[in-house]
């Protein structure tokens, strides 16, 4: 290969980027005549970011959490502070939301967030401390409570505490939670990305799982960015930018939608309209003001999450 590019990504995006990399390699060959090899690193996205800070020389990052990209700026000064402005849609070429996977026939009749606080329902989702997936779930529930209880902070806290108490298992990652729910038969509902829920159903066709998308949920962005310092050093800056920009192309968007992600491209949106029911998406700004404050108020050591989990 003439050039090689290292993409540091989250752990469940392997198939996605395996397809996309093929697409991009063709695209790049057509465009420049050069062959390009894309190397992939997958793992929990916080750990991935950490590896980059500690010296993993990735050119681009494609994560499922904004904070993990932010940290590359804050801790390593590896990319500019305004990285979100560099690509359309706040550098998030696709997005998803939190959905429920319930057992065949939805026996507990789970429809919305308040069902998850019911005493007879036990849920499964990953540990918000170790997994972005878990963090989104937590924020979605919290946002829902804010909507319901308004300014009544005590009621909000009480709701979220109950919600957290109904959790049967806190796996460290999304995949572990899925295994727990599907293979170990623990819990009545699995909370994860909508994109994942559909993958799971495809993976286990004979379990008869059903998807429930709550009326209100959280906008889960999938930020991408060029790690400029590294890309520059590797002489890949141009290639890296092209790699991310191409994600916004119609073909790529179609490919992403094929992996159950919601996309912004309207043509593609229309094509996949049945698959993605409309719903109210809460943003981080609505819930916590910003990712930064969400991290310090909710997830930091001793923050809201810790308080609500304390017994």
């Amino acid at each position: 290969a003439d050039q090689s590019l290292l993409n540091s990504s989250y752990d469940i995006a392997r198939e996605l980027f395996a397809s996309y990399n093929e697409h991009f390699a063709d695209y790049w060959k057509n465009k420049t005549g050069q062959t390009v090899e894309i190397r992939q690193s997958h793992g929990g996205s916080s750990r991935q970011a950490q590896a980059i800070i500690q010296g993993l020389r990735a050119d681009v990052v494609t994560y499922n959490q904004v904070t993990d990209v932010d940290v590359l700026h804050e801790r390593g000064n590896l990319l500019p502070a305004d990285w979100r402005e560099q690509l359309p849609n706040a550098s998030s070429p696709y997005y998803s939301t939190m959905a429920y996977l319930v057992r065949k026939g939805n026996p507990k009749n789970i429809q919305n967030w308040d069902d998850l606080a019911r005493e007879d329902v036990s849920s499964v989702f990953p540990n918000p401390k170790t997994s972005g997936n878990g963090r989104y779930t937590y924020l979605a529930a919290y946002g829902y409570a804010q909507q319901v209880f308004g300014d009544d902070q005590a009621a909000i806290d009480a709701f979220v505490r109950t919600f957290l108490n109904r959790v049967a298992v806190f796996d460290t990652g999304g995949r572990g939670a899925t295994t727990t729910f599907v293979e170990r038969g623990i819990g009545d509902v699995l909370l994860t990305f909508e994109s994942e829920v559909n993958n799971i159903i495809a993976e286990y066709p004979d379990h008869g799982f059903e998807v429930v998308v709550p009326k209100v949920s959280f906008l889960a962005e999938f930020p991408v960015a060029v790690v400029e310092r590294h890309a520059e050093r590797n002489g890949n800056l141009e290639l890296a930018r092209a790699y991310l920009e191409e994600l916004y192309s119609e073909d790529a968007q179609r490919l992403l939608a094929g992996f159950n992600y919601r996309v912004h491209n309207e043509t593609v949106q229309a094509e996949f309209a049945d698959q993605f029911p409309p719903l109210e998406l809460l943003t981080i700004e609505q819930i916590a003001g910003s990712w930064e404050s969400a991290m310090t108020e909710h997830f930091a050591n001793g923050g809201k999450l810790d308080q609500l989990q304390r017994r």
């Binding site: 290292l6 752990d11 469940i12 392997r14 198939e15 190397r39 992939q40 690193s41 997958h42 793992g43 991935q48 590896a51 800070i53 500690q54 010296g55 993993l56 020389r57 801790r75 390593g76 990652g173 999304g174 995949r175 572990g176 899925t178 295994t179 293979e183 993958n199 799971i200 993976e203």
Partner: protein
């Protein structure tokens, strides 16, 4: 040794057989069934899937890396283990006991912490890492880092096998060799090595098993680059995270296979040793 005809505790048949059955049951439940479970999962997709999973490009790369790291780790620890054992069993010097204790540290350190230790030192935020970065030397998140933590985790095995044996054998034979005019290398090759060879091989076998199977420490410093810094145990995790349960267990079964092979080699070594000893004592005058 005439154990057979001694009057010993617990030799009544009913005690003996109930203890044996209890032990066999426990071994079955604790060790055999998990082993069987791994293979059962691996073959749950049929033989073809198994072969397909095994010959997957990234799996092959992971096998390659794992074997590569093991192939480097073993000689490094072999050399170190032999020198250390030679040092502490053949010489008296202040600090000797401390040295013997130090070598046990990796047993006491959690693998994750071990990885962390290296990351803190050689990562680009660590003290050496910054300098290394400037020199454009990448240790962490590439195979040298994996090699380093693997060496750390496995370094006690060879030394621990050799030290008690060499202590027990004493230094008389080597002294005899010296009085007969042997040089250092001749002494080691012709006198010491033949006496410790089985212990050495056993140490190597254990080192290899652990090197191949190390997960915690490696996962911290690997960087998880598919096909590059993904060792077999990490590959198992990756596949598992990726809904490829059968694939994950295929790789796991490979590791279990290596483990079994290792144990087999080890038993074979022990068996040979025992036979040798028995043969010798039989002919004893």
């Amino acid at each position: 040794m005439r154990t057979a005809s001694h009057l010993r505790v617990g030799d009544q048949p009913w005690v003996k057989w109930s203890l044996i059955s209890l032990a066999l049951t426990l071994v079955g439940l604790l060790l055999v069934v998990p082993l069987v479970a791994i293979f059962a999962q691996a073959f749950s997709g049929g033989l073809q899937t198994y072969v397909a999973n095994l010959t997957d490009y990234y799996t092959l790369r992971a096998i390659g890396l794992t074997l590569f790291v093991a192939a480097l780790t073993v000689p490094i620890n072999l050399v170190f283990g032999v020198f250390l054992a030679w040092l502490v069993t053949r010489f008296e010097f202040p600090g000797r006991k401390l040295l013997i204790t130090l070598i046990d540290i990796p047993f006491a350190v959690s693998p994750v912490v071990a990885g962390l230790l290296y990351l803190l030192l050689y990562g680009s935020n660590g003290w050496l890492g910054g300098w290394l970065m400037d020199q454009d030397i990448q240790l962490m998140f590439s195979w040298p880092g994996i090699l380093m933590v693997t060496v750390f985790v496995t370094c006690p095995f060879v030394a621990r096998e050799l030290i008690p044996l060499m202590q027990q054998q004493g230094r008389e034979e080597e002294e005899a060799g010296v009085t007969l005019g042997a040089s250092g290398w001749q002494l080691f090759r012709r006198v010491t090595l033949p006496n410790i060879q089985w212990a050495l091989i056993y140490g190597v076998v254990l080192t290899n098993a652990r090197a191949v199977g190390e997960f915690g420490a490696v996962s911290v410093v690997s960087g998880n680059i598919r096909g590059e810094t993904n060792t077999l145990p990490l590959h198992v995790e990756l596949l598992y995270q990726d809904y490829n349960v059968v694939g994950a267990f295929t790789s796991a079964s490979l590791l279990a296979g290596i483990a079994l092979l290792t144990l087999l080699v080890k038993s074979f070594i022990e068996w040979r040793q025992m036979r040798q000893r028995a043969a010798l004592s039989e002919e004893e005058v």
